[in-house]
Symmetry: C2
Subunit: 233 residues, 2 copies
Amino acid sequence: MEFDSTKIYGIVGGLGADASAKLYLDIVNGTISQNNERYPAVLVWNIPIKKVDDEALMQEPRDDKNVVFNLLKDAVDRLSRAGANVIGIACNTIHFLIHKLPIYNNVSFLNIVDCTVEKIKNLNVSNVGLLATTSTIKSGIYSNPLSQHGINVILPNENDQRIVVEIIFKVLEKREDSRFKDEIKRIIKAMGVTTVILGCTELPLIFKQSDIEDVIVIDTIEVLRESMMNATG
Amino acid sequence: MEFDSTKIYGIVGGLGADASAKLYLDIVNGTISQNNERYPAVLVWNIPIKKVDDEALMQEPRDDKNVVFNLLKDAVDRLSRAGANVIGIACNTIHFLIHKLPIYNNVSFLNIVDCTVEKIKNLNVSNVGLLATTSTIKSGIYSNPLSQHGINVILPNENDQRIVVEIIFKVLEKREDSRFKDEIKRIIKAMGVTTVILGCTELPLIFKQSDIEDVIVIDTIEVLRESMMNATG
């Protein structure tokens, strides 16, 4: 082998593709900016999910073993087979199914939700805003572990949550709009929080820390990238 | 298997990463725009090449079996092992080594140079401009097959070729500059051609058909995408 194969990144991608490509490029750029002499070994697998299943997944945390779970298991199997040993999924929503995945030997599996919760705990806050799919919210993957640490999860009101989901769908379909940035900013301000989790990987594609003052923006793609780069293969 | 595994795209990437991510996203978007109900199965492998080897590769077509060729063979092996059966490399330069790769059963290997030559032949032109790395030019991977079909390859003058290579290096290093577009346009106009091949996958990242009038721009990433999508797995 020409390179050190103890660190081969695997990205379970396609949920959606743009977020996955961003994580891939961020790992490449992060590696080069650390003055590595070599580009990183990265594998990306775009899950061939049906559009209707992807959309249903975001609305309701369905325990759909026959479709989504099998695609997820196939993804991790496939990445491991090709050598990946530090694996992450560039999507928050699907993490309600993660505890059902088998344990893979010799693979560090980085859970974007766990990594983000860990980061929030270290911020010493009592409230945190969450912008996410309805499925992520209903499943409690963020609110359960955060409440155990005495941190309240603040959600948008019902109408704003509908707008957040609409924006996520439109970003996925590449129907981006310059007004999305202002809408997201307005929704965060209405929540009255000083820290907010962009708990869906489509959101960092259109909204960044530099777009809002006086609120700490937690970009989950960036949290996952950092965790994967710090992990041991 | 939840999906049709007879068409799993494999992208040998990292030469460079941005071009590879573009090809990946273009395949996803191309699939969705054909009204497919399912997102495509795509694997991307970012070759962990050393920066110095990558830079040397672009300057001189070195037959470096011990380093670059091994990484290339490993890439195709790895993608095949994970199931890819329609494989392409998002890079022109490295194609001087392609004829040395073993034949892979059950894999359609799409050669970006062959696909582009085929396209040029069908345009019924006698001259075509080529913007590429010095290595691509010296190796004759474009000029040899095109001259066999009576098509002259027109190159930039020595000074302009130096500028083209400088631009490619800077795009690879993300040191993009708004002046690159004007420089490329000037160089194409100076070549006096009506058709030009962007024969390095970094170039379509900064220059498009819409940036120039009266010249047909052949984007090799787009040619490879189309060929991969039309191929049978």
